[in-house]
């Protein structure tokens, strides 16, 4: 049978890199095809080419047997190709219905909203979704928004569906629902391309898997004939099994405690509702949960970037509630912010500036007024070596570094004890591995474990359950600004965590 999509010899160059290097890819009718690879492997570039967002420099695209040229997403949509991006492209204040019919090309000037609404309802039911077409998009959960995105595509009759990391915003329960719906779509003869870097999902949902590495296709295989270990090997080109060694911990006294903490979100609604937690030295306390349930607000209140509206923060026995960020830094608190590449780095300044973003004001790096660049450069050179930051020099602008190296830079700045003596007492790490490739993720994990061994207390926020369960001594689950559960190491499994992470949990 004719494949739905066939890509032959696709080459796409960007200044300085070849994002896709003679890539061949094929999507058959009725299959879920996983596209697996580390960040920067070229998955999204390839799919953006298929969706008409980029023009390939070389190569041919066949859709349903016909050679085509995709000049824009319009062309792709006309050929039945639909894509769900990682960041939703919905108009929040509009209704579901308006979002779905926006851009439909239909003759006539009057829109029969009722007719469309009914059709959309039926379509949604077919996949087991309960969506009210008259709801405003901002009222929906992340999972429901994704369903709207899919409905938008399906309503246009697309039979080639591209999903870019669709599970990154979902709870385990929502993920299962998505997988069921995808199965159903494949059963109808549609083709689904599922971009991911999570091995577990590949094994669970896909019929075939194509692995990409550094812009090239390494292998395309039937999922049944492969294993997670083999896929990991293809992905990074070497065995990626982690060896932590001595995971047993010996927690000491409490280094930080929050009691009945309350705070508002940026929108001014309660984000933390009486959160109480304690982190002991030498332990990793994992905070699990779907992002946006108060985790970032918790981190920000602790480090002094957000005002607490109630409750207390105690660090090393000192009341640090609503103290300035600077005072909290001086108490020995290190903070790895979420999306630190964006919010913890200044791309237009040099590596050395970024390394000393906090320590520049303390001796021996400056006196009361004057900076001691000599000392800073000397130390920066050392740190670049110690943390294996790949950079042309410490004079290079941070923007020339890759994401993984920027995260190393942040780790070096926060953890290496530039301020005060010795290591930080408390490390607040918010999504420190998000968006990183396997190698960089490994480095972050190892570094956090090293500091645990050295006696730091670590508050580790992540939405990746595998990672949380692997590293944490205890796991607290957050949902809608509350701690819905606190589990000891070994007593947590995905089912339990999943329940605590969603409204299905008993309160």
């Amino acid at each position: 049978m004719e494949p739905l999509v066939k890509l032959r010899g696709i080459v796409k160059r960007f200044p300085g890199v070849v994002a896709n290097d003679r890539v061949d890819f094929e999507l058959r009718r009725g299959e879920v095809h996983a596209l697996l690879g580390e960040n920067g492997a070229g998955k999204t570039t390839l799919m953006n080419i298929l969706y008409g967002l980029y023009q390939p420099d070389e190569g041919e695209i066949y859709v349903k047997g016909r050679k085509v040229r995709l000049r824009s997403p319009r062309d792709a949509i006309d050929l039945g190709i639909g894509m769900v991006h990682q960041n939703f492209r919905l108009i929040e204040p509009h209704t579901v219905l308006e979002n779905i019919i926006l851009g439909l090309r239909e003759p006539g000037i009057r829109i029969d909203f009722e007719k469309h609404a009914e059709r959309i309802r039926l379509l949604a039911e077919k996949y087991g979704w309960r969506i009210d077409p008259w709801m405003r998009v901002w009222q929906l959960s992340a999972g429901e928004k994704q369903q709207v995105e899919l409905l938008k595509i399906l309503y246009r009759g697309a039979d080639i569906l591209i999903l870019d990391e669709p599970t990154s915003v979902l709870t385990p329960h929502e993920t299962r629902m998505l997988f069921k719906a995808l199965r159903r779509m494949a059963g109808e003869g549609k083709g689904v391309i599922f971009i991911t870097h999570k091995l577990g999902e590949v094994m669970e949902i896909s019929d075939r898997v194509t692995v990409m590495r550094r812009g090239r296709v390494v292998v395309t295989k039937s999922t049944k004939e492969t294993s997670p270990e083999e896929l990991a090997y293809y992905m990074v080109g070497r065995s990626a099994i982690l060896d932590f060694g001595g995971v047993e911990s010996a927690p000491g006294e409490v280094v930080a405690e929050v009691i009945d903490l309350e705070a508002l979100s940026d929108k001014g609604v309660p984000a933390l509702r009486k959160v109480s937690l304690a982190v002991r030295s030498g332990e990793i306390l994992g905070i699990a949960g779907v992002s946006g349930n108060g985790q970032v607000e918790l981190a920000e209140v602790i480090v002094g970037l957000r005002k607490a509206t109630g409750g207390k923060v105690i660090i090393s026995g000192i009341d640090a509630t609503n103290k300035s960020t600077r005072e909290i830094i001086e108490l020995g608190v290190a903070y790895i912010p979420p999306e630190s590449v964006r919010w913890g780095i200044i791309p237009e300044m040099r590596v050395v500036d970024n390394l000393f973003l906090k320590a520049y004001r303390y001796p021996p790096y400056s006196s009361k007024l004057i900076l001691n660049w000599g000392r800073m450069f000397e130390k920066a050179e050392e740190l670049v070596k110690e943390y294996e930051i790949v950079t042309p020099s410490v004079h290079a602008k941070a923007r020339s570094l890759s994401g993984g190296n920027l995260q190393r830079l942040v780790l070096a700045r926060e953890l290496s004890g530039l301020i005060g003596e010795g290591i930080p007492k408390l490390i607040v790490a918010a999504y420190p591995t998000k968006g990183l490739d396997v190698r960089a993720t490994n480095f972050v994990h190892k570094t956090l474990l090293r500091y645990r061994r050295l006696g730091a207390g670590i508050l580790f926020i992540s939405e990746d359950l595998d990672e949380i369960m692997m590293l944490s001594d205890r796991i607290a689950v957050m949902f809608e600004g509350r701690i819905t559960g606190l589990l000891e190491r070994g007593k947590a499994d995905k089912e339990k965590l999943g329940l605590l992470m969603s409204e299905t949990a008993p309160s």
Partner: protein, 366 residues
């Protein structure tokens, strides 16, 4: 910024350049400059004037000592204000109120002179130091008002700095028409003439030489503050990202206050250089827009203090040339300002092309 424009003929895309060599950078600026002169030549020709003669007049400004010294004199207020703006702009603080801060500086300097002349409060050797301090403080305070509004209430500084310009200009009008009018001035709206000790000419008795010395010292100070002090580092971080600055534990409000004060203070001293270096008294309209020219100069110089000095002299030269063109060729003043603007525009486009590349793709929409 739109990165993609689709037209009938093809797609135009704007891509960020990753690298651009120094040589290519210099060549781009030079080409832009030469192209701007070409356009100026065409315009002059259309106006029925001889471009070659006009360019000869402009060229003379930088070659004839008397004119060159005039150019340098004109460049001092521009330079000092632009140095202040360099600090503000590094902080991403859009101070477009250098003009008003210049006027406040002039008021402060004149005030000290009048205190001396009318009340004889201090020795005349103290005049210049006191005038400098006072003009710095008053210019700085003028900008600090907007800094406080920004830091405490998040009021947009573009509006406040601009609006305060008119207040300062009118305040000078009031003073020279009223309380500060020279009693022996036949009713003209002028202050008394400054005594020699209040004039900026202690170096070789030449305002140009003295001014240049002041400008270079100020440039060195700004350079050191930005590159070698904690405050300079903080200003740069705040300018790049407020959020990262807060994350790093910096006291953003304090930095904005200090930065805006320094910025206005330098413009204030620029005001001093007008009343004691160029005019020798206070009069309405004493600054013909030096504070606005300083915005152009600061951005042309890429906020580099040393280049600010060079760019100021260039613009001081254009101002002088404007006068010379008016006198010798009867070119209207508006035309000379247009010439400045054209040169600026071309160099700005050159700067853009250094950072971005424009790509044309064949084949239009179907």
């Amino acid at each position: 910024m739109p990165t993609k424009i689709e037209t009938r003929l093809g797609t135009i895309r704007i891509e960020r350049r990753l690298t651009y060599s120094r040589l290519a950078s210099a060549a781009t600026t030079l080409t832009a400059f030469l192209l701007s002169l070409l356009v100026v030549a065409v315009i002059l020709r259309v106006m029925g004037l001889d471009p070659a003669r006009a360019f000869a007049v402009i060229g003379e400004v930088f070659l004839v000592p008397r004119l060159l010294s005039e150019s340098v004199k004109q460049s001092i207020p521009i330079c000092l204000s632009a140095l202040g703006l360099a600090i503000a702009f590094k902080m991403n603080y859009w101070n477009i109120g250098a003009e008003g801060q210049i006027y406040m500086g002039m008021i402060a300097a004149t005030g000290i002179v009048l205190l001396h002349a009318y009340y004889n409060l201090f020795h005349e050797s103290m005049l210049l130091p006191l005038m400098t301090i006072a003009s710095f403080i008053l210019g700085g305070a003028w900008c600090l008002i907007t800094g406080i509004l920004k830091a405490k209430l998040n009021v947009n500084e573009i509006l406040t700095t601009l609006m305060l310009n008119y207040v300062a200009i009118l305040l000078v009008d009031y003073l020279v028409h009223g309380p500060w009018r020279d009693p022996k001035g036949y009713g003209f709206p002028l202050s008394i003439e400054f005594p020699d000790q209040a004039k900026l000419q202690f170096l070789f008795g030449s305002p140009a030489c003295t001014g240049l010395l002041v400008a270079v010292v100020a440039a060195a100070l700004v350079f050191c503050v930005l590159d070698y002090t904690r405050l300079g580092f903080e200003i740069k971080v705040v300018g790049q990202s407020l959020r990262v600055a807060r994350y790093a534990g910096m006291n953003v409000s304090k930095i904005i206050l200090l930065g805006s004060f320094l910025s206005g203070g330098l413009a204030g001293v620029g005001g001093l250089s007008i009343v004691s270096g160029i005019i020798g008294r206070l009069r309405p309209g004493a600054s013909p827009g030096y504070g606005y020219t300083a915005i152009i100069v600061a951005s042309l110089a890429g906020l580099n203090p040393w280049l600010v000095v060079a760019a100021s002299i260039f613009f001081g030269g254009l101002l002088t040339a404007g006068g010379a063109l008016q006198a010798s060729m009867n070119i209207p003043r508006a035309a000379t300002q247009m010439i400045q603007a054209i040169i600026f525009l071309f160099i700005l486009v050159g700067e853009f092309l250094k950072r971005y590349r424009i790509v044309f793709e064949r084949g239009g929409r179907t």
